[in-house]
């Protein structure tokens, strides 16, 4: 039993618990939140190092021998995602110190943030499909409350849409998990990988139905075409620190689940996976077209999340390819894109949040003048914005290159064309934000809120600079991350190592149970 797998889940749990205990003092809650997130980040990095050196880590909970009972497992993909989660948790907590108003702190903002991180981390580390459902629900429950926390009209309306559609997809996920158990007699992901092809040989219709159920369930959560309408209707209504972590993480948990599911399902049911390529192309195009039509900073960014999800699931669609090299390229591109996107997208939302703080306005028409007032913010904005559009030498260039390359090798020309068009249009709408918010002069008669005090500038600035540096680093040295992405892809595509690690885990018998 490896402690490293359990700690990243345990720390946010403790952070949340102690946070609730310190209910009376929001100062103590904030301190606990930051401390827990810092510790979380350290442990997550240790987990990644451990997994990189020693391979897949498995922790059977309650000492049941797998595949019986719940296992926590950390392969490379899971470990990378946990590091990114912890990093985002840290940046969001720091930003929240400057951002979140006292009434929302009173309502338990900081402990809720820890619960959200608990759910996300748990989703990345569990090896059990029903346990994944439970962690999803933990994450969703925290996100429901965080979204509606301000109690404003728009936030409540956005929350109704968000909660409603997510509950619908949860019901589908639950049915799918039950069906997977009915068909194979197991809930363990590694065991499912072994048993599902046998079942598929006897009863292909049932496996396809199962795949369709889970694809739709995770598709709603990931925000793919045509299931994404809840996202642009809700994300921009939350407070900026909250929408930053939502934008960076929550849909990506959906993508992660999609990747996990499809790598298990692809050998059994390729026809279904093939359709994902078309979905990817449509998501890229419709997402970016939606963004072009918007005139509100965070709404533009919301539509860009969708279009980027399209890029990520190209690799999922390529799993249907008969050529193992194409599958490997596609999956590596997906993992690389996930990592790049999480850093960039969160940073854009943080910049948008600070711009909102300085201008008191998010509608582009009434914004302006920030390049003169805050050149540092303008400089930071350019890094994630150009990275999102895919300009060299930033991380987005390599991510897009990897996607285009895998698509070209896999003869997925529709997806490649959509990716190219979406890339250009992304640049257009990033330039639109640049022109309207930063470059042009503020329209006459618009007033700004009182300027920020130095401590607030630091609390907002440090996370943004850190994320921008990470983007630059990946852009200038993409090699190490791409290598990890390739290894993660290899583990996903040939899960024999995972299956061996999970199913051969010996459990020390201590007396009678």
């Amino acid at each position: 039993m490896s402690l490293w797998v359990v700690l990243p889940i345990l720390i946010p749990l403790m952070g949340a618990t102690f946070g609730w205990v310190a209910w009376r003092s929001t100062r103590v809650q904030a301190a606990i939140g930051v401390a827990a997130s810092s510790l979380h980040l350290l442990v997550a990095i240790a987990l990644l190092v451990e997994v990189r050196q020693n391979g897949i880590l498995v922790a059977p909970i309650g000492s049941w021998t797998p595949p019986i009972g719940i296992v926590l497992q950390a392969d490379l993909l899971g470990a990378i995602m946990v590091v990114l989660t912890a990093l985002l948790g840290w940046t969001s907590n720091i930003t929240a110190l400057a951002e979140v108003a006292e009434p929302q702190r009173r309502a338990g903002f900081f402990p809720l943030m820890q619960v959200l991180l608990l759910g996300v981390t748990g989703s990345f580390l569990t090896g059990d499909i029903f346990n994944l459902f439970v962690f999803f629900e933990v994450m969703l429950m925290a996100s429901f409350v965080l979204l509606a926390l301000s109690g404003e009209k728009g936030a409540l309306e956005g929350a109704v849409k968000y909660v409603g559609l997510n509950l619908f997809s949860s019901a589908l996920f639950l049915t799918g998990a039950g069906m997977a158990y009915a068909l194979t007699g197991t809930l363990n992901m590694a065991d499912l990988f072994v048993k599902l092809p046998e079942v598929a040989a006897q009863d292909p219709t049932a496996v396809t139905t199962l795949g369709a159920l889970l694809l739709i369930a995770f598709g709603v959560k990931a925000g793919v075409f045509p299931l994404y309408f809840w996202l642009p209707a809700s994300y921009h209504t939350a407070s900026p620190a909250v929408s930053a972590i939502f934008a960076g993480l929550l849909t990506k948990v959906g993508v992660y689940a999609l990747v996990r599911l499809t790598t298990i399902l692809a050998p059994a049911s390729a026809g279904l996976i093939d359709a994902v390529l078309w979905v990817a192309a449509a998501t890229m195009l419709f997402g970016v077209l939606g963004a072009v039509a918007q005139t509100h900073t965070r709404r533009i960014l919301g539509f860009h999340i969708l279009s980027q999800i399209g890029y990520m699931i190209v690799g999922v669609g390529l799993l249907a390819s008969p050529d193992p090299e194409v599958r490997q390229l596609g999956m590596a591109a997906t993992v690389f894109y996930l990592a790049h996107h999480i850093l960039v997208k969160t940073n854009l939302y943080l910049v948008a949040g600070t711009a909102l703080r300085m201008l008191g306005e998010e509608r582009l028409k009434y914004a302006g003048g920030l390049a003169k007032r805050a050149p540092w913010l303008a400089a930071i904005f350019l890094v994630p914005a150009f990275s999102l559009a895919g300009l060299p030498p930033l991380s987005g260039f390599w991510a897009k290159l990897a996607v285009l390359r895998s698509g070209a090798f896999g003869d997925a020309w529709v997806a490649v064309a959509a990716a190219a068009v979406a890339g250009v249009l992304t640049l257009v709408s990033m330039l639109k934000i640049w022109n309207e918010v930063f470059w042009k002069d503020r329209p006459e008669g618009e007033t700004s809120p009182p300027p920020m005090v130095p401590s607030e500038i630091w609390l907002r600035g440090v996370p943004m600079v850190l994320l921008a540096l990470a983007t630059l680093t990946i852009g200038l040295w993409p090699g190490p991350l791409y290598e990890i992405a390739q290894d993660a892809a290899a583990q996903l595509l040939d899960p024999t190592a995972t299956v061996d690690a999970v199913l051969s885990t010996e459990v020390a018998q201590e007396g009678t149970r």
């Binding site: 969703l140 509606a148 728009g154 409540l156 929350a159 109704v160 069906m179 158990y181 642009p232 209504t237």
Partner: protein
């Protein structure tokens, strides 16, 4: 017996979806309730329906006799029901607050956050 319950699953899901497609927010809530009941019942049924035999190892024995229902889906459903209960209560409060704030419960009129 199983066929009757299977039809119930279908009926629950169908009426849930029907209610969710109505314009009223409160009907949407009831739609979610019915839909999650349908999902719970479906998962429950995967364990099989056996009358009068529980999955408990008899006194003095070490293994279970065959011919009982699988207890695992029952445990899963219990978890799912608890989660569903919490989530539905939250949604009920949220809808109430939203109706107070927006002054109506007509989904068609909720266009404030749309583009």
């Amino acid at each position: 017996m199983t066929w009757l319950l299977a039809i119930s699953v279908g009926a629950l899901v169908a009426s849930g979806v029907y209610l969710m497609l109505r314009r009223s927010l409160v009907k949407f809530l009831f739609g979610i309730v019915l839909l999650s009941h349908g999902a719970n019942l479906a998962v429950f049924l995967t364990g099989g329906i056996v009358r009068g035999r529980s999955a408990v190892v008899p006194l003095g024995e070490t293994t279970l006799e065959s011919g009982h229902a699988d207890p695992l889906p029952q445990a899963l459903v219990l978890t799912a029901i608890v989660i569903g209960f919490a989530v539905v209560s939250f949604l009920a409060v949220l809808i109430r607050r939203a109706q107070e704030e927006l002054g109506q419960g007509d989904v068609d009129e909720m266009r404030e956050t749309e583009s």
